[in-house]
Amino acid sequence: MSAGHLPILQVAIPLIAAPLCVLLRRPGLAWAFTTLVSWALFAISILLLIRVLADGTISYHLGGWAPPFGIEYRLDAVNSFVLLVITGIAAVVTPYARQSVAQEIAAPRHNLFYALYLLALTGLLGITATGDAFNIYVFMEISSLASYVLIALGPSRRARAAAFQYLIMGTIGATFLLIGIGLLYMMTGTLNLADLSVRIHEVPDMRPIYAAFAFVTIGVLIKLALFPLHIWLPNAYTYAPTAVSAFLAASATKVGAYVLLRFVFTLFGQEFSFERMPLMEILMPLSLVAILVGSGVAIFQTNLKRLFAYSSIAQIGYLALGISFASTSGLTGAIVHIFNHAMMKGGIFLALGCIMLRTGSVELSALNGLGRRMPFTMAALVIGGLGLVGVPVTSGFVSKWYLVQAALEADLWPVALLILLGSLLALIYVGRVIEAAYFRTPAPEAPAYREAPWQMLLPTWILIAASLYFGVHTEITVGVAERAAATLLGGAS
């Protein structure tokens, strides 16, 4: 087996590992195995990204059938970067998961938990790597089904209700995507994305294509949880087991954003999406509302997981905003934000998991005085939070910088002001966390909590440190993001 098979190994390894994980039975063994797999995947994605940056797009024909007859894996700067983000998050969250999962989920089912986790990972990687429209649908369903169950495993019964709501909305979204793919196939006779992007413009009657565009966009926006299609997200993230919240918050919505990018720019093309379809006029107000409402609602939450779930809605707004500019700096901002937000939100949810482990609660009141008791955890939480605000030196600043720049380039200074307003709102909710942790004294009857174990602290700090490192050294992230943006915009014309 040579390096030429890396693209398929990226997806096939977790797929094969999942049933093996079920067969392993012993929880500890299943966990160790999953960890190894996730590290291997991370290594593969690094190799792939290096190869893509050096040699350009990689195309892998599954089964040896030439596209458009067979299914093609097509890796360019955009999706190999997203692959790196997902596998990176998985490589950090999996070692962390052991203790958090041991606390929140009953023991005999741990091997099944890891199997589902691997399946969710398989789905996300499959969506990202594939170059075939229907294949996206199939792998989206793998990841969705696995996520519904993972969320339902949360300790509270509300987890089940949240998972059901997600299942209904997610399935409607996926079916919309399927309708869109069907319409595209009907008018072009192909399912291959690259082939579609050419043939789509030769269609004699464009009306079905317009409808397809609408269905695909709405379907993806449900998965992405952009306002007002976000209602499944807060409950799902709040009640899921913490390791699952961290993994999904850091990766699932990123893949949603990637699929949107792929359809809007590669498949339909920038000119079609933004000049013949009013995508900018729809996406931009929605994302601004998402930023303001998400941050605004977050301020009033007392449950920290819910607070940061609403903050995710706001951050998704930033992502969508970057896409809606359809300019180099806007897209660079969006793609960099995919990376940065994954690091920050992943780190924050992992820190929340540490707090959950020690105090058994993620209420804001549980934080009182915790700054002294669990200094490392709280420092991680606060730095992650400042990243969400966009304070300089954190990576959140980098993404916002590009977004503001894009707004100014497009002569939309009110938008730039709204971005800053969103940051102010974020400062308020992060401020509440800081206040509780450092300026309030713990209730006298509260036990003296110990710092979280290093097996959990280390992964948390890896993500937080990454978000700091890439806030200062932007050459790598921004460099790749700029290439990716150029690929998307260049591929469109």
Partner: protein
């Protein structure tokens, strides 16, 4: 535009609309799943309709026939049916779990129980 040519599409669309209505309107979780199933099947019908060629036969090659209907939509829908039954199974299992936890599968009663249980605890 010849209306008769599109009647099959429209029948499928009507079914899809009914199913989708049921999903959003009904409070009973099982009924939502029934609606979802209806909606998906209608979409499948739309796909299969695309593949039909007048005068064609099923795409199993045989010397006796020359015109075959398009096999690709069939393949896609086979996969999609499997996906939909998987979703249904997980959905029903969730509904059963919800019944166990809440004692009801009516959406509004679940909300009522949640708000009765106190404001938003984890």
């Amino acid at each position: 535009m010849d209306i008769l040519n599109h009647i099959n599409y429209w029948a499928a669309i009507a079914l899809a609309a009914i199913g989708l209505y049921a999903v959003v309107a009904r409070a009973n979780l099982i009924k939502k799943l029934i609606g979802l199933s209806l909606f998906q099947t209608a979409v499948f019908l739309l796909f299969i309709t695309v593949g039909k060629i007048t005068g064609g036969t099923a795409p199993i090659l045989d010397a006796a026939y020359e015109v075959y209907s398009n096999p690709l939509p069939h393949v896609l829908i086979l996969t999609a049916i499997v996906v939909s039954v998987s979703t249904l199974a997980v959905g029903l299992a969730l509904a059963i779990a919800i019944k166990r936890d809440y004692g009801t599968v009516e959406e509004d009663e679940i909300h009522a129980e949640d708000s009765a249980a106190g404001p938003d605890k984890a």
